[in-house]
Symmetry: D2
Subunit: 264 residues, 4 copies
């Protein structure tokens, strides 16, 4: 029987004793279960600070905005993995989340970080002049501004306006959202065309205004998507399409010679 | 440019057009964002039916009960994977969820299914007599009853009593919870000892009473755990322990000869 | 600075000191690199016993048989995940492997285990009489025999005959392969039709004859597939099809009302 | 029954017809199984070009060098995930591979890319003068040179010398290895101290000299590690340590108050 080293791993998260379970310093059964909503709890777990009602409403609006976008690669992946390994729900969910990288779920994080960095080096409060400088600097450096543009909602992403509204109602419209909105106003002067502020970018701005850790902004998008992927699995159970998708690819394969030539 | 086949993949989840995004048949921006909590939305996505307030409260109590249990294998795995590949939050989260299998997160699903099967074949309403028959039958078959027993909370899991209470308050104490509670009362007559009804099992019973799909009960445990794992990552960012854990293993490795002998 | 507990974790795998790296008790640089092929090493790592040349040849034939089958769900998943998160090769590979479950890669393991169990309870050497009893017993129990049947190669899976041949050439045609072959001869008498012995099943029989751990037969299929999935990624880099696959699904979504009705 | 679109997805990998299975344009059963080793096949799949004997030997030496390094985070993660979800070998393997990111398996890719970029912009053949310029430029830019330094093998990583030797024996010591070796000779003049050329970096150089796609260098490290992780699982089956590791963490947790204070 090995001796274990003495107390090394501090945590404020879950802990148990014979009679009691605590979470975040609370009595889990008495003070969390039945008292704390799931969005509120997710916020609390990530910040170790209980959010107020307004913060929770903005946070849950962001999660709703990101939960599901139909047949995205992540949704297709989860359904195909479930088709192939139906014994492992955790594998199907994990496989889908692995698509939550730089391209499809990354805008939220990229936009939050971009706004945060811009604000960190700004020498004055947010206004259109500041936004204009920032857009000009990015243009000069040949970089795109995260959160600007959408391949479907070319006239405006309905999630963005609504998130602005909710954040204002709750007094949580902070400098990240303000700068993002200002960029939306001024960028046509520099870029010569009007692009919509997309919802994923607005979500990043809102999460940053809520004080959530920038390193984990993608994590919240993944949490939202986890709920969406369970919805995809539930629908797949009722109305399966994964085998159809698989066959639509497999039956349309076209054998071609190897690129490097064959030395066989 | 390939021609695509005609409409094949029905879905009631996310869909977009130029002006509008719908989710579950709702206008996402107007009717979901700011109006629907995250737990409520997760339930709705999984059932395609909007839950009532009482259902949402029970459901969120279950998610709270399962979100985090401290340094479980899943939490350790997420922290170690983040240590090793900090560029991929999605990888760290997915790796942790992959531990949500039969042993550590499986009780919720196993218990929900067990109760459901027992109820399906029962020829009368739930009472102690029925529970006694079921416990006797399992004992005779040499099987354990899922949800019975806990390695820490030997005098009772505080989550179980609380979940019973919340379900009763909301009028959602259905046959699965009733049978689970009855098993808690009668099993000592058969097994000769008193075991606690554990929280994970109670969660499975509650989810089954809410009418959630049995195939996905593990999925809800995974959703809850996703929030917990983001909490673990946030804490790891603030107070890192993963490298310490890694070294505590690596520095204590003990080289031994290969089991099969070496033919080298 | 914590004190670590004393030597707890025995291992015969990799270990390092200032001057030397050992693997499986060998000097890695001197005795493994340049001396041991990759298939041979994988066998050695799994059994901690160095295989002979004949064992390696059979093992590598199995890996070749399982490496890639074109646009399987696992291949599609890896390509779509790479599309969505191109920054994380490990995520794309892991996502593909997660499809290696009971349905698409499971036959190898199921067949190996089935033959092993049948041989464990047999009271005499393998012959057609024994195979007939086994097929009859499975039929009576309403169970399918793993490894029997193929949706494409209805007249015989070319991998099976070739694997029998290689195993015979190397003196590694043991009882598992013998029983599998006998089942191939006798099953029409019981089932009333002739089904091919599929390659995945033959691979399971061959791996079992090589003495590889039954719990890990699926692991070898996954190792083979890992090489195949890297091939899929390499081809995706040269000739991308994932975006086309994604669009072929997304553009053919068909919005339908939620199954449970909307209470919104 | 939907109509599928016409041939869209070209591939030179696996394809099947009633009588025959092809892989890379070869007859799988006749020309690959029993004829092509696993390392050779993995190379062929990734390049669609059959490697020569010398290329295969260098490639397999690289895979051997990267297969297992004992109780790394990836190995611990695979064992813990198997403990937690023993029903899903694919999940345990995938979870371990997800640690193959920038920090623990990334050097191979980073070094290969670094050398490739340096060679692309060099205006003359590799010699010590060129290496000196490169080291000076990196130093001036405040960047580390990938592949330089090792926390254990401070006097030299035995894998590096051996890989140089094997590549020379096979006539595969190309410009990437030559530049890497030259950097090893000249860097003390610039850095004022002698650092070892590590094995992971040498592997990246060797893979680049073999003409393997730079985007997938990490993929080969992952393939090697897949074999190592199956070895870890096999050892875990024989000599379990995962539960011990889990307990060594869980029993040494130390509850602390939440960072953000509790508003409960």
């Amino acid at each position: 029987m090995p001796e274990y080293p003495t107390a090394q791993y501090p945590t404020a998260l879950g802990a148990s004793s014979l009679e009691k379970i605590t979470l975040l310093g609370q009595d889990l059964a008495r003070d969390v279960m039945g008292e704390v909503g799931f969005g509120e709890l997710a916020f609390w777990l990530a910040t170790q600070r209980r959010p107020g009602k307004g913060e929770t409403r903005v946070f849950e609006a962001v999660l709703a905005a990101l939960a599901d976008h139909g047949f995205t690669p992540t949704a297709i992946v989860t359904r195909l993995t479930y088709l192939s390994a139906p014994d492992s729900i955790q594998g199907a969910l994990a496989a889908g989340l692995l698509g939550g990288g730089s391209r499809f779920l990354g805008v939220t994080e990229d936009c939050g970080r971009f706004l945060h960095d811009a604000l960190s080096t700004a020498d004055r409060p947010v206004d259109d002049e500041l936004a204009l400088e920032i857009v000009r600097a990015e243009r000069a450096a040949g970089r795109f501004i995260p959160g600007l543009g959408h391949h479907v909602h070319k006239n405006g992403d309905p999630r963005t306006a609504r998130l602005f509204e909710i954040a204002r109602e709750e007094g949580k419209f902070g400098p990240h959202l303000a700068l993002f909105e200002a960029i939306g106003r001024v960028h046509p002067q520099v870029l010569g065309k009007t692009l919509p502020l997309n919802g994923a970018g607005a979500c990043g701005a809102a999460l940053a205004d809520l004080g959530l850790p920038l390193e984990l902004l993608r994590g919240f998008a993944l949490l939202a998507r986890a709920a969406g992927l369970i919805g995809q699995l539930a629908e797949e159970l009722r109305t399966p399409v994964a085998n159809e998708i698989f066959l639509s690819v497999d039956l349309n394969n076209r054998p071609v010679p190897p690129a490097g030539g064959s030395h066989g």
